[in-house]
């Protein structure tokens, strides 16, 4: 799968977020950085960059609700898993 294809799939998941899960590590990072669920969804929906990362993961960068850049590492197969945010 190319990064462009992956980005489209990820943006689709973010538009219908019922099947998105977070690892505890991602949740902890969000709490530390005051990043909210809505920021993650906003960044994924409006992502402008998607690069392959290790172990089949994708590094997606987009603006949060306050237009600050947010990077989200995700993994998807049957649903979308947020691994971490920064």
């Amino acid at each position: 799968m190319t990064p462009d294809q992956a980005l489209l799939v990820i943006q689709d998941w973010a538009r219908f977020p019922h099947a998105i899960h977070f690892t505890p590590h991602a949740v902890q990072r969000m709490r530390q950085r005051y990043v909210k669920k809505s920021d993650v969804l906003h960044a994924l929906r409006n992502a402008d960059s998607c690069e392959p990362a290790v172990q089949g993961r994708w590094k997606v960068t987009g603006p949060d609700e306050d237009a600050d850049d947010l990077t989200v590492i995700v993994f998807f197969d049957f649903d979308l898993l947020v691994i971490t945010v920064y």
């Binding site: 019922h18 690892t23 505890p24 609700e65 049957f78 649903d79």
Partner: protein, 187 residues
Amino acid sequence: MTASRPEPRAHCPLCKSRKIKRGTFTDSQTIAGVRFTAEVPADVCGACGESFVWINDVGDFETAVARQLALRSVCVGEAFKYMRKTLSLRAVDLAELFGVTPETISHWENGKPDALAFTLLGSMVLEYIEGQESIRERLRALRNPVAPRTKPVRLTPISARSEVHPAKQLDVTAQPAKPKKRSRSAA
């Protein structure tokens, strides 16, 4: 806001094991020196031990914390920003609703908020949890006045809401936060 919980995952996306069971995860957030914690539902892999927290549970915890901030009147900039973001309001949109400049909102969020503005925002959070937005609508109407209606207004009885928002059911505890330890940052 209260979509039904999906079935437990068929397999762990990390180790591919099918030993997935229901469990919990201790979520916590520190705002203005107060640490809020709650046990939120999670799917747990019996093989690798990794947990998976459903997006709505992540959001419900955030809403529960915002509710506590509103109820406790934690009138500090950090709490103000947290409550604004819970409502998914951009600073510029809130500024428009409150009739102030975005710079004023930034000033409040980075320092001491205006007490009345804090109370109003807190009321909007509490209303949001009840599934209502009347304060927001009234503020909008104040900012965009329209000609008064000349036709009579038909009133309908208010029906009691039976649905309770999960944010009100989450048992959130609050305690003074421990001083931060120095630690290396990790992605």
